[in-house]
Amino acid sequence: MAKRIDVTDLDIYYGSFKAVEGATLSIEPRSVTAFIGPSGCGKSTMLRALNRMHEVIPGAYVEGKVLLDGEDLYGANVDPVNVRRTIGMVFQRPNPFPTMSIRDNVVAGLRLDGTRRKKAELDEIAERSLRGANLWDEVKDRLHRPGSGLSGGQQQRLCIARAIAVEPQVLLMDEPCSALDPISTLAIEDLIEQLKERFTIVIVTHNMQQAARVSDTTGFFNLSGIGKPGKLVEMAETDVIFSNPTQQATEDYISGRFG
């Protein structure tokens, strides 16, 4: 199910602007990797480059390699649509489709991928995904109500259910809790803990405590100045980053001296 990601010497550009420079890192399967760093340091861009979502911005491109179990995601014949089917994503703000019911939201990726499936099969996948996102008990009586009627935390878990319904290998999360209250955040963090048994998870967060709580490995990104590209300063096991970092910048950031 879960796969590993190896990034080698990756530069990410938006037109002529270089957003991330020289990133090299490895992401282990069935683990949680957190990207932390100050605003504008390129951690979200790095995350989006892992499933080619940054390409929705015109003029974006990369130089370097991103390998998923050895397969180059930026290879000549690689279709970004297939990359995103394999590497799912959850966003900062919950974004359920407003035209669809809760059930249809969950199976949207399957209904719109071009293959026909039986209703019973979709119902089963919807239930399994909602259970996987710890949302089933809260919504099982209103599966045909619109998803926009749920609370923010429930909507975010609905989006996670929608992402895991297509059975991706990797799940990317771009600050998934920053729009949520502490209780909902706790629910998502518990969920991440369960999901890592099945998926490789990469999470971007502004919240260092969150990174310390949920991740096995942490990467610290920083930028040397305004308009300069962001860089991966240091990446190591989360315990090491938070207790004994090798770089002064990492130490300064996690101890709150800047950022």
Binding site: N51, M53, V56, P58, V81, N82, R84, R85, T86, G88, M89, F91, R93, N95, P96, F97, P98, T99, M100, S101, A108, G109, L112, D113, G114, R145, P146, S148, G149, C159, R162, A163, V166
Partner: protein, 361 residues
């Protein structure tokens, strides 16, 4: 001890209440001012030369505004007086804007309903002289339905596709330049007078290509007229669909075309339908291009591709220009049918949009 505390408490509450509240006009102030102003205006009629309902009303309104503002200023102060003045001005302009609409609808309904009957809807004007009663607009209703129907069948899809190109494809592709040209010409088309469009179709299709003057030629002119309206309204609707929805769809591995078709379009569909309906309603009342492209006819011609065809606007124009009592009545009947037609179309579109679009809680 506790007695003193509560006494101090009462006193400070009273002080606070004084600080928070100001002197206001009594509740009956506004109606009272209105009644006094009206009475004064009627009284003034006797003194001055102004009379009639309209004159009295204008004087009453002016007196009401002046009296209420002055009274409010002396009691409540400047801010409340200005608030009352602005409130009155907004209601007055609202009534002023609504008056012509209600007047128009009332006139059309009253005058048009006199001739409206089942035979008016099912017969044509063939062998009916302008002076005689009777006759009908079946030929014109049929022509309008066919011409506007064909124009909508061509114009609405073309307009929606153009808008999809402009919003969804042009910004990310290499064809930015083309998009700017398309967008520019859509703007130009919005400003072209309808009679010029009629002339264009007449010279290009009838004179140059040898097409007959027909309902279809009229449809082409109407298509050109509705196209920019459909493009612009659809564009606006597609632009307000949040980018996050498109990203959510892409992140599920849904291809772009399916994202547009199944996520973006349904989210915007209510607004797109409304925009298309407004465009259709607008061209349904066009007269000038029809006179140039299909002219008019007094008899039923169900074939939009051969020979002149009547339409409701040209029927109204023709009946009105005959000038007899009977024919002017028929013109009002035509106007009523045209308005009802547009309203029915609009109601149907609203019902469709309600069930098609964003799920309400």
């Amino acid at each position: 001890m506790s007695g003193i505390t509560s006494f101090e408490g009462d006193q400070s509450t009273a002080l606070l209440r004084m600080a928070l509240s100001g002197r206001r006009l009594p509740r009956w102030g506004v109606p009272a001012a209105a009644v006094v102003a009206l009475a004064a205006a009627i009284g003034l009629n006797a003194v001055t030369g102004i009379d009639g309902v309209a004159g009295t009303l204008v004087v009453a309104i002016l007196l009401f505004v002046a009296g209420q503002t002055g009274w409010s200023f002396s009691v409540e102060g400047r801010r409340h007086a200005l608030d009352r003045l602005a409130t009155t001005a907004i209601y007055a302009t609202f009534a002023l804007a609504l008056a012509p609409l209600i007047g128009l609808l009332a006139t059309v309904v009253v005058k048009g309903s006199q001739v409206l009957s089942s035979s008016f809807l099912t017969t044509s004007m063939r062998s009916v002289s302008p002076r005689s009663e009777g006759g009908g607009l079946y030929h014109a209703l049929l022509g309008t339905l066919e011409q506007v129907g064909i124009a909508a069948l061509i114009g609405v899809p073309l307009g929606i596709l153009t808008a999809i190109y402009l919003v969804e494809y042009a910004p990310s592709g290499s064809s930015r330049h083309l998009a700017r040209v398309v967008s520019f010409f859509v703007d130009v088309m919005t400003g072209v007078p309808s009679v010029v469009v009629g002339l264009f179709v007449y010279t290009a299709f009838v004179l140059t290509l040898g097409m007959q003057r027909s309902g279809f030629a009229a449809s082409i002119a109407l298509t050109i007229l509705m196209l920019p309206v459909v493009v612009r309204s659809t564009e606006e609707m597609l632009r307000i669909v949040p980018r996050s929805l498109r990203e959510a769809s892409y992140a599920l591995g849904i291809p772009k075309w399916r994202t547009i078709l199944k996520i973006v379009m349904p989210t915007a569909i209510a607004g797109i339908i409304t925009g298309a309906m407004l465009a259709i309603a607008r061209v349904a009342g066009e007269t000038a291009p029809l006179l140039l492209t299909t002219f008019l006819s007094q008899s039923i011609n169900p074939d939009p591709f051969t020979g002149p065809q009547s339409a409701l606007p040209t029927f109204i124009w023709d009946q009105f220009s005959s000038g007899t009592d009977a024919s002017v009545n028929r013109a009002w009947g035509g106007a009523l049918v045209l308005i009802i037609l547009v309203m029915v179309l609009y109601a149907v579109a609203k019902i469709i949009a309600r069930f098609a679009g964003v799920k309400k809680l």
